[in-house]
Amino acid sequence: MVVLVLAGLAGVFGRGPFSKTTAEAQGVRLRVQYERFPRFRTPATLEIDIPRQTSTQAQVQLTGDMMKKLSIQQVMPMPALTQPLPNGAIFTFNLPSKSNSAKVVFVQQAGAVGLASGEVALKGSPPIQFNQFIYP
């Protein structure tokens, strides 16, 4: 029991330091911070650092199993436009003109348990792929 509680403190069962991780796409400097172990019916965050764009808008594409198993409850800041895809959605954000990068946060909530795979991409760039395990 001590081991399980210590593992819980570390975040092995979600919501701890070990649960949060970062994936990066070197070519486009896109960075995604996600939770390895979200929990069923519990808010989880997906933070995306968007590098400086040539235009004042960035299009972020979220696809994969994750979009079915983790519903998006909130997006900060609000996207200027949302376009549905068969397996996800494209979110268009207005960027601050003088900023090097921008951060967008998706608050998700798991409606299913088990493995979920996700892909995040800036439109036209190769995606960042990651896997999550949703605890019941």
Binding site: M1, G8, A10, R15, F40, R41, T42, P43, P136
Partner: protein, 147 residues
């Protein structure tokens, strides 16, 4: 992680509060005192689970509280002083038919509580009691006068 820290903090806080409100309340002798226990539990559980409604969260909270209980039990066995702080010591509240008013005040007990315990032993009044002792669990042990 947060749930484990909140559950551990809640355990120690409730332990302190239950000691603070007195043994009588913990022994749940009347509906008045039962309310206290219900509300303590009900209010604390919301703070422990927060916005996390998963069964994983519930299991972690239960395991943490179980672990805290094992820790306190172990500390009580190792240290008599710690045991006295956590559980208190038996207190004599009636001796040879006389109330110890100071002890009753400290334990937040009323005369009626002693008499209620005495009636369960078939005794009708205070003069028939040699000793009344409030045990660590809040129960009142009655020893009748000889003869």
């Amino acid at each position: 992680m947060d749930t484990i820290l909140r559950a551990a903090a809640a355990y120690w806080f409730l332990l302190f509060m239950l000691r603070f409100v007195g043994r009588h309340a913990v022994s749940q002798m009347t509906p008045f005192e039962l309310i206290l226990i219900f509300l303590f539990g009900g209010t604390t559980i919301q703070a422990i689970v927060s916005d996390d409604r998963s069964i994983t969260n519930a299991f972690l909270a239960v395991m943490t509280i179980g672990l805290m209980h094992i820790l306190v039990t172990s500390l009580k066995q190792r240290s008599g002083k710690f045991g006295r702080v956590i559980d208190g010591t038996p207190m004599i509240v009636v001796e040879n038919g006389e109330y110890d008013k100071e002890q009753l005040r400290k334990l937040q007990l009323q005369y009626q509580d002693i008499l209620a315990a005495a009636r369960q032993k078939g005794l009708k009044n205070i003069q028939q009691i040699k000793y009344a002792i409030v045990e660590r669990n809040g129960k009142i042990s009655i020893f009748p006068e000889d003869g």
